[in-house]
């Protein structure tokens, strides 16, 4: 009933707003393309001329140096011109609406917007209203989606585990507020991971979580049993202040990843975290830095995956 706003009439990816509703083939295409970008780092010239002359705007309504930087590096490796805009709330508090801002920037010959915003659905709104030749990449909207993060996580899992169709994956932490978790769940289920577990206290698990194709565990020790991949989510500090959790200490005791709990998973299980980590809150340092941790690979792969997304979108035809 609702047309997928990310695909053009040829079924090509025009915007990347969410993993939800994308075909597995599209996800695989992105991951395969990313493989080709991976070894560019080993060359003497660490960039390709693919997006020469294209203008990519990093449009961050919510500050995030990390994510912005990875997109910037990816764009530069594709030879695109990158313009960083940290809009924060300043122009909006002056009365300019989100769409005013976007229209102004479109007039500056933008080809792509990388959007980060604190409200769920902001990237969809922008994609619906930009001119057809402009592509929109959601770099995180509210609690909704963070598709490039999920894709780089899939890339990482595929890199270490090859076949996704026989894996048990556990996601641990604050799923309620996590756009990363939502996108990961869609990506995992779309790519055929047969068992996705969600582990956390009831206050941090969204309603109808099972409808997203996951199994919910409140007991971390049961939830980690025999899993191949453990994804730890960041626990925002402000969650400690409300009525969601009593304290960081109690959270760590029951839901923090320690070496003992890790031992419950498969011996070759990998540990992932989208960053930035709260050591001692959701993950113990010895685990974060341990042999099973692939957290730094995630960062490296993130560049290649974002390059793949940008090149695939930029090569698709705008919807008239």
């Amino acid at each position: 009933m609702h047309k997928n706003p990310q695909l053009n009439k040829h079924g090509e990816l025009q915007h990347l707003l969410t993993i939800d509703g994308l075909p597995a083939a599209t996800l695989r295409h992105i991951l395969d393309t990313a493989e080709s970008f991976l070894n560019i780092a080993e060359r003497e010239v660490r960039k390709v001329p693919l997006l020469r002359g294209k203008a990519i705007f990093n449009l961050f309504f919510e500050p995030s140096t990390r994510t912005r930087t990875t997109f910037e590096i990816a764009a530069k490796k594709l030879s695109a011109d990158v313009i960083n805009l940290n809009i924060g709330t300043s122009s909006q508090s002056k009365g300019e609406t989100l769409l005013d801002t976007v229209n102004n920037l479109s007039a500056m010959q933008a080809d792509m917007f990388i959007v980060r915003h604190s409200e769920s659905g902001a990237a969809h709104l922008i994609a619906r209203h930009v001119e057809p030749h402009i592509h929109v990449v959601n770099a995180g909207d509210g609690r909704h989606a963070h598709p490039t993060q999920a894709l780089l996580d899939m890339f990482t899992i595929r890199h270490y585990k090859q076949d996704l169709t026989r894996l048990r994956v556990a996601i641990v932490g604050d799923m309620l507020h996590s756009r990363v978790a939502r996108s990961q769940i869609h990506a995992l289920t779309t790519l055929g991971v047969p068992e996705v577990r969600m582990i956390g206290p009831k206050t941090l698990i969204p309603t109808c979580a099972e409808r997203m194709g996951v199994q919910v565990y409140h007991d971390m020790e049961k939830g980690l049993k025999d899993v191949d991949v453990i994804i730890m989510l960041r626990l925002q500090n402000e969650r400690m202040r409300g009525a969601l959790l009593p304290s960081a200490q109690e959270y760590f005791k029951y839901y923090g990843l320690t070496a003992e709990k890790l031992a419950l998973a498969c011996p070759d299980a990998i540990v992932m975290h989208p960053g930035p980590m709260n050591r001692g809150v959701e993950i113990e340092s010895s685990v974060a830095d341990g042999v099973q941790s692939v957290i730094l690979s995630q960062v490296t792969f993130g560049i290649a995956v974002r390059m793949a997304v940008m090149s695939i979108l930029m090569g698709s035809e705008g919807e008239q």
Binding site: D32, T33, S36, F37, L38, R43, E44, M314, E317
Partner: protein
């Protein structure tokens, strides 16, 4: 039109290449047809030659018009390009744009001492000042025709002609 026999063409190419081979030579095939030809060539030299493949998708000049190729393969150059004598191999030489892209990509790996271009078929129609030093066969084709290299399951190569779709 009678299309030439591939094995004969490749033998002819090998014969032309052989005098130029040195300890610093390396063979680079352009994905996919060029890589197949390069593979066959390397079997004929009787000496192990550094071997690489290029997927020039990220260097094409028609990206804005046709987008990214749906099946990009990673380029694989497992040797230092710096100061190498590169024999760049492709299946069909036409406009020269693919070769332009391949050379640009090669230079992003390093500065080769020289590049020699070896092609199975030169069908003419150049749009850039590019020429092959080693040519299996020259074919005169109508602008409406496409010539394509195919490989079957047993690894046998063959050429086929098609009318262009538009």
């Amino acid at each position: 039109m009678q299309l030439p026999e591939i094995d004969a063409l490749i033998l002819e190419m090998a014969r032309q290449i052989k005098p130029h081979l040195t300890a610093e030579s390396a063979l680079v095939g352009i994905h996919t047809g060029g890589a197949w030809v390069a593979e066959k060539l390397s079997e004929l030299f009787g000496m192990p030659l550094p071997f690489g493949t290029l997927d020039i998708s990220f260097y094409r000049d028609d990206f804005s018009r046709i987008g990214l190729h749906p099946q990009v393969k990673p380029s694989h150059i497992p040797f230092e390009v710096e100061d190498r004598h590169i024999i760049l191999v492709d299946d069909v030489l036409n406009t020269g744009r693919t070769i332009r892209a391949a050379m640009n990509e090669l230079f992003d790996y390093g500065r080769p001492a020289s590049i020699r271009l070896a092609v199975l078929v030169d069908r003419g129609g150049r749009e850039l000042p590019i020429a092959a030093q080693i040519v299996g066969a020259h074919l005169k084709l109508a602008a409406t025709q496409n010539i394509q290299l195919n490989r079957d399951e047993s690894g046998r190569l063959s050429l086929s002609l098609h009318e262009k779709k538009d």
